[in-house]
């Protein structure tokens, strides 16, 4: 039987209820939720709380579901508690949203509870998970594979959701219902298509009781102990997140590699998960194996190397930084012939370019702008064009002793990988004559023999 003090102890230890709270109680009509309502009802004066009941008719079972609703309604009448009942087509919603029946049921339930909660101005939503649910969840997670966070199983409180019966065994709840002649309906969950959990409950737990008769309590205790550690690790990671992570754009976070290298892997995986949560809303998408891949990427120290993580997250190193982004890298590619004395638009990078030719005069002065350069016109072979880089491009930077791969030149200039495709290259029929914004080719520079001068000007229309 349930000792009321035990429930109160849970409530106080985990600060589930504040004096004066309005609480929406989720009641299916099964033993757990009926017991929860009955117990909270006993505590109304002590905590000065006001209760509201929310019952969702899942429409899985036709007439029986109607009877569940009637039962809950009657119970609320007896207890003088306001009752909200909503009927909803779970299979339809599941189909429409591509969810399993179980997932759809959960989504709709919590949407409904939140809706009632908002309507009545409630601070809390009480749900009836018990100690056996706790143990079963830990086992399910363990069997599926998980880390410490998964093993912490169900929490006594998460935001406004509270679970006052989480320390009470199912057996005690059933005894309580019998003692108080509550006659709850058959537990809905037994009839919901959560076959896996039922198997754990009906087969695995009894098998484990042969090894330890108190296996349910033992597992629940383990979940509780692990939660303390898990909470601490999360707090540590959140502190470090605030210090290290910089949000450059909505979908682009950076963190300094130097900071990462000092971090213990335990924190690093959590940090990465917080990044994932920020980018795609789900921290679970990053698993331990992804972290190992990331560590490998960092240790290699190769700028520009990127890896693809789940949910469209791309990570790449960029000199001292590790960059996480969900930007879809639209491949930029352009190539336009230039027309003398006219502007040529490069819409891909929102810029334009023109060239003209002047005769050399004694008072010729080199243009001082980064985006305006002078070349020896008589060396140009064929027509001029502007394009972005291609595989194998080479280039002879002004002042150097020979050509080098354009890629290496970009690396030397520490140009972000994702910017490289957007840099215009001015070419004649044979060579790159100018990497716009950077150097011109040594081969085309003005010499004492130059008589006709080619001037090329690039103009950025606005910052992209």
């Amino acid at each position: 039987m349930i000792d009321l003090d035990k429930v109160k102890n849970t409530i106080e230890k985990h600060q589930l209820i504040d004096l004066g709270d309005k609480i929406v109680v989720a009641v299916s009509g099964g033993p757990d939720s009926v017991c929860l309502l009955h117990i909270l009802h006993k505590l109304i004066n002590e905590y000065n709380i006001k209760l509201y009941v929310a019952h969702l008719n899942h429409n899985f079972r036709g007439i029986e579901a109607q009877q569940d609703a009637q039962y809950v309604n009657k119970l609320c009448d007896e207890l003088n508690v306001m009752c909200f009942i909503k009927s909803i087509n779970v299979p339809k919603y599941a189909k429409e949203h591509g969810l399993s029946l179980e997932e759809a049921g959960r989504v709709l339930r919590y949407l409904f509870f939140e809706e009632i909660s908002e309507n009545v101005g409630a601070q809390k939503i009480a749900v009836a998970h018990n100690l056996n649910d706790q143990a079963e969840t830990l086992l399910m997670r363990l069997i599926r594979g998980t880390g410490i966070q998964g093993l912490t199983a169900i929490h006594h409180r998460r935001h406004n959701i509270i679970r006052p019966l989480l320390d009470i065994t199912r057996r005690d709840i059933e005894d309580y219902c019998r003692f108080h002649l509550l006659q709850p309906r058959l537990d809905h969950t037994n009839l919901q298509p959560i076959y896996h959990r039922n198997k754990i409950r009906l087969q695995l737990i009894p098998a484990l009781e042969e090894y330890n008769p108190n296996i349910v309590e033992t597992l629940a205790k383990t979940a509780e102990i692990l939660k303390v550690d898990s909470d601490y690790l999360d707090l540590q990671a959140e502190d470090i997140y605030k210090i290290l992570i910089k949000k450059e754009k909505a979908n682009r976070l950076t963190l300094p590699i130097q900071g990462i290298n000092k971090l213990h892997p335990s924190l690093l995986i959590r940090l990465m998960r917080l990044v994932a949560e920020n980018l795609v809303g789900k921290r679970e998408v990053l698993e331990y194996k992804h972290i190992q891949i990331l560590l490998h990427l960092i240790s290699k120290d190769i700028t520009g190397k990127s890896i693809q993580l789940p949910m469209g997250i791309t990570v790449y190193t960029n000199y001292e930084k590790l960059i996480f982004t969900t930007e879809t890298e639209e491949k930029v590619s352009f190539s336009y012939p230039l027309i003398r004395d006219s502007y040529t638009n490069i819409s891909e990078i929102n810029g334009r370019i023109r060239y003209y030719i002047i005769n050399r005069k004694d008072d010729f002065q080199f243009p001082k702008e980064a985006f305006k350069k002078a070349f020896d016109w008589d060396i140009i072979k064929g027509g001029l064009l502007v394009r972005n880089r291609k595989e194998g491009d080479r280039f002879w930077p002004l002042g150097m002793k020979g050509t080098k791969k354009l890629k290496d030149y970009f690396i030397d200039c520490k140009i972000d990988r994702h910017k490289r495709d957007r840099i215009p290259l001015i070419c004649d029929d044979e060579e790159i004559i100018w990497v716009v914004g950077h150097r011109i080719s040594d081969l085309y520079k003005i010499t004492k023999d130059t008589t006709r001068i080619l001037i090329i000007e690039f103009e950025q229309l606005n910052n992209v």
Copy 2:
């Protein structure tokens, strides 16, 4: 079948072997250890290692045990590895030391391995635990009840003990033995009285495989992930231990309560366990429930309240400090009549005391020493004695408005609880006239009417 690269990957990831190591390989003759020896033998040149085999005859199975030893000896001959075989009576040792056969076997095995290791100057001892052992151990700990540390199960390396096969399944090991025609002996562990583990292996793991066919790998992976977190938490706790813990004596550690109050419970339990390890050599003696009791003690902020923890550890608060000690508090109790002009020894506290009487003169000066005081001799009723405190003692401290409980006086003076019994009290037939080292009684002070002066001197013979 075992991919040799997989074992090498384990060796390198966990830094199990350094180039040039001498390694003692524990070989029972079963598939695991035979495979381990065979694989390490293949790696001799690559790691420049030297192998020695240690085989312990447990004497559980008579003739079969002899055959095991012969088999191991023959295998070592073939591989040209030096083999040490020792026969020992495990049941006898178990009986003599009050251990289970399993415990005794483990103690003796590792003693033997360490002995060989020392003799040959080996850096490492290789043992043959595999991935299935890992999964089984995690389950055993989970069923028994544990925290994160227990769930990290078996470690790839602990001090000089290394486990190169810990990432390899039992099935792969057996395949390897068949492929290399090694014909290992029946695995000893199946015949050792470790019934519980065999049941886990033969019944529980197959049952869990119905839920997840890769349950062994999944559980081993969980152990590995949890180890990362557990290691981090341990490191954090060790750092804090160094900062907060003060070792006052070999069996007495203190930590500031202010420091504790700021600590997250996750670190606090680890800190307490490190204290326990320092005091009694075993950190596991402190469980989560003990920490909760400790937190309660601290929150109450009662100086002098003590609690008893396992293995004779006493904890009590003392003003700003929490004191952990294994000191057995020998109850001090003494009472001696004083003799005029003679020393009375108080052996219990290693002090002596005497008194004498002088006539008042105009140039009388009050003694300035803490342990020498003057009283009005004519107020003394009956004889003088020195004793330590008893329940109910009251006292009128000089300058105060009336009597108070001696206990309260001690508390006001912030006198350590364990020191209170050792403070001499000088009494006449009715009253405490002096709390030695502290105040005299207001009732016995020298007044303008005093004619004869009682001088009492206490002398500490050496510091206790």
